[in-house]
Amino acid sequence: MSAALYKQMMRVNLKGFLNYAFGSAFYIFLMFWLYPGIAKNTEALDDIVATMPEGVGRAFSLNGFDSAEAFISGEYYGLILVLILAIVSVQLSTQLMARMIDRGSMAYLLSTPTTRVRIALTQACVLVSGLLLILGATTLAGFAGKAWLLGDRYAFDGGRFVLLNAAAFLMFFAVAGIAFLVSAASSDEKRALGLSGAIVFGFYSLDLLGKLGDGIAWMRGLSIFSLYRPGDIVGGEAFPRARLRAARGDRVSLLRGRHTGIQTEGSAALIRSSPAPSAARNCTKRAA
């Protein structure tokens, strides 16, 4: 890693990171602010959800409204945060490699005594730092929101909330890794952006579609996002070990799907472990 490059890249991108971090923190505040109103009508809301087709509730992560983190895991971690982080992963990884190659500023970096691998590693560190920053701000905002807006009147499990953020981080560590690999392998900014965007949002759509209908549930198996289940964490399914293993890049693990309120009962889900962390390593090799 090159300290000078890391420092400079963080400086250039800090404003963007802070914008997303602030936006995410603000949104989570908003959720906490809304929650007391929702908590009053938990039963009525649960009834409404129960009248919807099962797939819809699954797809839009309606995880129940009986605790603050269940509400947040559904409404924020299940949808909006995923979109925000997907955009950050695709955009930032394209900016850090393909754009610099395309525009020619990479030539300046390579003209200094710094190897290609070191430059790619440094840029990858910037990407991971950005994700950490955004999720760190989100986590802190969650605890602050709990302290200021909820107090002791409403149920909130801090440990699970942290796990929720950790899962989101690991998930997007993998997603950003794929986007970074694409970015490092292309010399054209637009192509890198298009390709990594298509992969990431393609994954997202496959997961969403798979959740909507039981007949096409297999689609989820193709998507890395099927590994990300904020509902499971708040539902007390702990932190699925497979997910951790997946983040480490293990091969394939077969998990039995369990009833969690949003999962279909007894459906066996073949979960492919993500190739992404190793992809992140590979991309530096590719660049070499």
Partner: protein, 295 residues
Amino acid sequence: MLTLEHLTKTFKSGKGIRDVSFSVRRGEVFGFLGPNGAGKSTTIRHIMGFMKPDRGRAILNGMDTWKRQGEVQSGVGYLPGEIAFIEGMTGREFLEFLSGMQRVRDRERRERLIERLQFDADTPIRKMSKGMKQKVGIVAAFMHDPEVVILDEPTSGLDPLMQKAFVELVLEEKARGKTLLMSSHSFPEIERTCDRAAIIKDGAIVTIADIHELQRMQRKLFEVTFDTADEAAAFAASGLSVEWMDGNRVRVAVKGDYGRFAEETSKRRVRNIDLFTQNLEDIFMDYYDRKGAGA
């Protein structure tokens, strides 16, 4: 110091460079000439180790520039043909950042260069004109006092005064024993600074020429206006190589024997002498044409 061995790279478009070989000696200023799209920048990118050649290799300081990228670069200055800085910085911030990457602490040389090229380094790069960016690029190439400097079209965007300042800088570096390679499509610029030059066209080296020899080969055209047409006719008949004649005006080509020209001219009453210099461009175009006719 720098050796290119059969460097070959073909792009998807079919363009590229073919079998480019030449070597630059230590302390030499080497020109690299050719029209746009001839392969100058591609060759330079190989020299800098940015591209992997399909065949052949570039060796700088005894190291393969692609395989040992990151090592070769210490002690090398580089000015890209199309300058792209990192966004959101001022000139000085960029130079400071690059010094950090080059692991050079000394700021004095940088400040001297900034002063010399006369620009406000604290201007944000996005507000800079092309010439100003070029100046930042030149400072970046020289500020760490490298042994070897690779310059891709260094004077593009500079006004004549700054071009002169740049030529002086190059000559100074040469006097300090540095090795320079500069590409250009401007012949006078190469003529003023280089010892030798390679000429590239359509991705292949056409020739490698000694600039001083070319200068000696250079013909100068004098157009002399005499008082009378008779004097002009007598002058034309004196054995000088006459290019053109009209009334009392004669245009002769002189190559080397200026004494004889002066002698013949001074015998007659002269109203005016005009000088036309055949520049290196014409000489190089002769090379091109000869090659073109041969193909």
